[in-house]
Amino acid sequence: MENKDTKEKLLREFAPQLEKTSPATLVWILFLLGVIAWGVYAFVAQVTKGHIVTGMRDNVVWGIYIVNFIFFMGMSYAGAIISGTLQLFRTEWRKPIIRMAEYLAIISLLIGPGYILLCIGRLDRLHYLALFGRIQSPITWDVIAISTDIFGCLIFLYLSILRDIASLRDFSELKIPAWRKKIYSMLALGYTGLPEQVKRLRRATDIMATMVIAIAIIVYSVLAWIFSVTLQPGWHSTIFGPYFVIAAVYSGTGVLIIAMWVFRKVYRLDQYITRKHFVAMGVLMVVLAALFGYFTFSDYLTKWYGSEKNDESLIRILFTEYYWPFIFSNYIGVLIPLLVIGIPKLRTITNITLSALIVIVALWFNRYLIVIPTLESPYLPIQDSRPEWANYAGTWVEYALMAAGVALFCLMFTIASKFVPVMNVSEMSETPKTESSELFKTEESLL
């Protein structure tokens, strides 16, 4: 049951975020727009001069674009899985953070596929995929899966913000332009919290929560299969599907912790997003770190023990040319969260956030190490042995577009938080159920 007073109080508290944009926020938005403009300039350079301005060549045909694509898609699936799971289990501590997970899911999902478009040499032939696409191709599976996922995540996000939109429509103290009120009114679909409406909304939300979890797992597995159905050394692995899913949720958890920390600071949400939430997410991160470490070890152990010539060559490259990135992504990126969460004294908000930051960087390198070294050690000899052809190194164009993607991600998150509160106001104004509270208490005592 919603508590009207609590809801009003919360809306009053969040109203300034929606009504005003502080000078600091404006500067932040301008900075992000500047980075995006730099990316646009790089894109124009790429389109006019061709892919020669990137580090990609005949052998290493995938570079930072694909790494970013996997990374953003991973964050999206993490957002979907976390928000879907928290929704289904009615976890009490989800309320202040579930909206961020939902934003994470949809915003990453909108940005990620953009990197595929950047990687394609002939954008003018993009429509051929629809005209001549073959179901047998994993690329086609991916296109179908991602577009299905985008629709699913949009519906899920809409369902979960519907009550807040209705609340904002009804909140007369909100000083926003009339057109925004009109948009709220239109999007609220006349929701007033009638029992029948509540029942239908909850049913639809639960179904969509289940669907986004299932789709996230399937879609990210499909993405993994694009790699693993090939016979390339390092890619042809049966555990790549679950490995990718675990890595995705792991990195996404890290991003969510960072988002929690940023919004907590920016919107002064200390009383809502507390240490408990960070520790809860930290515990989730530890479980995922252990699973990620297990899958990584299992994958490389079997390759190393099998001693297949090209796998051996790949592992040699990883432990020589890519030694530090490999150690960072697969050792430090796993051990730091374990230590920070494992040792009670280290379990502070700052430490958890820093370890999340390390996890994000480590997981980005993990994707880099999956894509690049494999392409640098092909089965057939590299025809042109010039180092810049045989080995990959990203150029300023690729890094500019990577920065633009990150900036766009931050910008969309900022804009979204200006449209609907970053916390689920309607859910937070609900009186907690006894069972949920007990469950939460148990979790709290465990931590």
Binding site: K4, E8, L11, R134, I135, Q136, W141, I144, T148, F151, G152, I155, Y158, L159, L162, A166, R169, D170, F171, S172, E173, S185, A188, L189, G190, Y191, T192, L194, E196, Q197, R200, L201, R203, A204, I207, M208, T210, M211, A214, I215, I218
Partner: protein, 304 residues
């Protein structure tokens, strides 16, 4: 002098002694020369003389092939010695030289030729030599069918000093059919006065896809002729049936995807989109409920 010091001195001298002995041993080992051995085989097969010299070092630990050793082959008769050529030993120590029978090879008065395989030595490897004498011979294989019986006819001839051909008499000829890994012996015969012999073929052997089998007749390790071999093929075998397991095609290069893939995709997409539609229908119903409700908040705000 204290006892402890004495022990130290004795120990020191013992160490020096051991070191000296070890050094001497090492020095001895380092200058130890290796005397290789050569086994030399001669095979005259269907107008080709195949000379094979296997060079190796026999130690207590076993036999070690000497690879890359250059073996020089020569042939000697009564009056002259002719260099036939040289070959490098492979990983197993085998140096092989093949010569056409037409090559002018020196002979003695009995028509024999002494073949020599010689390693001239290199570094710590001492020179080695091996010889083998053989008379030029030839075996031809023919086939005959008498009623329901199949016979392999063997004719062996030799070439004397003057070059005239004579039959080889009273020598044993073994008949084989090559199988996958080795030769299967199917019979043997003693040559008669005319240099011919006959072996009945009774086996029901599998040949190639047309039923062809290869028959090899051999005079083996003969003092006079060495190894002489002749061969010919005949379609007396059972045609080989190739039972190839039906390999399922991946169908990824065909215009249409495999049925299982289409069914899986359609099922999954239908399931997912059906749920989406259901969720959208719920939203439509929410809108409809609000229209039916007289207190529509779109006209009546709650928090005013």
């Amino acid at each position: 002098m204290r006892t402890q010091n004495k022990i130290r001195i004795i120990f020191f001298f013992l160490l020096c002694f051991c070191k000296l002995v070890t050094s001497a041993q090492n020095k001895k080992d380092s200058v130890t020369e290796i005397t290789p051995s050569i086994t030399f085989t001669y095979l005259n097969s269907n107008d080709t003389i195949i000379l094979t010299a296997n060079i190796f070092d026999k130690k207590e630990q076993g036999v070690f092939a000497i690879k890359n050793a250059i073996i020089v082959f020569s042939a000697s008769g009564d009056k002259e010695t002719r260099n036939l050529g040289q070959a490098k030993a492979d990983e197993e120590g085998n140096a092989i030289l093949k010569l056409p029978v037409a090559t002018a090879i020196p002979k003695d008065k009995d028509g024999k030729t002494i073949y020599t395989a010689k390693f001239n030595g290199k570094g710590k490897f001492q020179p080695a030599i091996e010889t083998f004498s053989a008379k030029l011979a030839r075996i031809t294989v023919n086939f005959s069918k008498e009623d329901s019986l199949h016979f392999i006819l063997v004719t062996a001839t030799q070439v004397d000093y003057k070059g005239s051909v004579k039959p080889i008499q009273k020598e044993k000829v073994v008949v084989y059919v090559p199988r996958l890994f080795t030769l299967l012996k199917i019979g043997e015969t003693d040559l008669d006065e005319a240099g011919t012999g006959k072996v009945e073929y009774t086996g029901k052997l599998v040949g190639d896809s047309l039923g062809n089998i290869m028959v090899i007749a051999r005079i083996e390790e003969n003092d006079k002729f060495g190894n002489v071999q002749g061969q010919s093929s005949i379609s007396w075998g059972i045609p080989k049936q190739y039972y190839l397991a039906e390999r399922p095609t991946r169908e990824l290069w065909t215009p249409i995807a495999p049925i299982w893939m289409i069914v899986t995709l359609i099922t999954m997409l239908t399931g997912v989109w059906a749920h989406y539609i259901y969720a959208v229908i719920q939203l439509i119903k929410i809108k409809q409920i609000s229209k039916k409700n007289p207190g529509n908040p779109e006209n009546n705000n709650k928090f005013t």
